[in-house]
């Protein structure tokens, strides 16, 4: 199935969960990443139970603390 991750559409296996996607994409600091699917938040407690579907648009939002 084709899903779009951070703006790039690619083929992914059926039944992929958010947790597995985070692992396969080597997301930095995976414990603290915010995930949206089709412009809706996925609670971090639901990463294991949320299965991605064909055409989904996934974004990873990262903490960025610097500034001074």
């Amino acid at each position: 199935m084709k899903i779009t991750v951070a703006g790039i559409a690619k083929e992914y296996p059926q039944g992929l969960t958010v947790r597995k996607l985070i692992e396969s994409e080597n997301v930095e600091t995976p414990e603290y990443v915010t995930v949206t699917i089709n412009d809706d938040f996925v609670e971090s407690g639901a990463f294991d139970s949320t299965v991605l579907n064909e055409g989904d648009n996934v974004e990873f939002l990262y903490f960025m603390g610097g500034g001074r």
């Binding site: 414990e31 412009d39 903490f63 500034g67 001074r68």
Partner: protein, 271 residues
């Protein structure tokens, strides 16, 4: 208030823009913007806001200028090392534009002072370098109904978003609470490319200016990310529904400001 001849010349490139004009320039001259943090983000933001003729600019920071700041904090010079950052920033802004009144606040923000600090300002720029301050600014602005620009920079990356009361998600909608101390790099050890503050801090100034002018689309409901190594900007849409947010939602559970603990490596030096 009529423009002086000097002002007509100084702001001529603004006044000629149909989105600004004489009317918009007057709005800028009457506007009040507070910049929290006179560093990597705050320095370029302050320079552009002063040059643009934002009439009152507040700047808050407790630190002194350190030699290690000068690689990115372009409002300070080598001769300013050791001077309070707010003083150094004030001198530069006043030298750029005598129309600007600069108000300095030599302090670190906390739950006891921030509400009073932001109350007289039209727009707030978060140029701080740590999560406790970023969450505090968000919560205080949400509670006081103040628009603000959030930003963060690290290494070769930067990002920003704009909060306007009643118009979409706040910082806490996206990042529920600060990560545990030292879990996410925020400290001086991680490093940042100097020009990153210039890119992102200038975008924060741009958001403040557009808000004051009431023109164009703000970064409300979006997170703009910049990856300098890939040379890629991405405007990421944020979820619209913020009814469940702990601070800006329908039934907020956070109704008092919180002083989160600073990571240990940031206690000594916040520069």
């Amino acid at each position: 208030m009529a423009f002086t001849n000097e002002q007509l010349e100084r702001y001529s490139r603004h006044i000629i823009l149909k989105e600004v004009g004489a009317k918009g320039q007057k709005k800028l001259l009457n506007a009040k913007v507070l910049i929290i943090g006179a560093g990597g983000l705050g320095a370029p933001a302050a320079l552009y806001l002063a040059a643009a003729g934002v009439g009152t600019i507040g700047i808050a920071d407790a630190d002194e200028v350190d030699l290690s700041n000068l690689q990115r904090q372009v409002i300070h010079t080598t001769a300013d090392v050791g001077k309070p950052k707010v003083e150094s920033a004030r001198e530069t802004m006043e030298a750029i534009n005598p129309d600007v009144t600069v108000k300095t606040y030599r302090l670190y923000i906390d739950s006891t002072n921030i509400t009073d600090l932001i109350k007289d300002y039209d727009f707030i720029i978060d140029g701080t370098d740590n999560f406790p301050a970023k969450f505090l600014i968000n919560d205080a602005c949400v509670m006081a109904g103040k628009p603000f620009s959030h930003a963060g920079i690290i290494r070769f990356k930067g990002q920003l978003m704009t909060y306007v009361p009643g118009q979409g998600p706040c910082y806490r909608c996206v990042f529920k609470e600060p990560p545990p101390k030292d879990a996410v790099p925020t400290c001086k050890q991680a490093g940042v490319i100097g020009a990153m503050g210039g890119v992102i801090g200038s975008l924060q100034a741009m958001e403040a200016i557009k808000y004051i002018l009431g023109t164009g689309d703000l970064l409300t409901g979006y997170l703009l990310t910049y990856d300098a190594l890939k040379m890629e900007f991405r405007k990421i849409k944020l979820p619209k529904d913020h009814s469940g947010c702990a601070v800006c939602g329908d039934e907020p559970t956070i109704t008092k400001l919180i002083d989160y603990e600073l990571p240990s490596c940031e206690l000594k030096s916040q520069g």
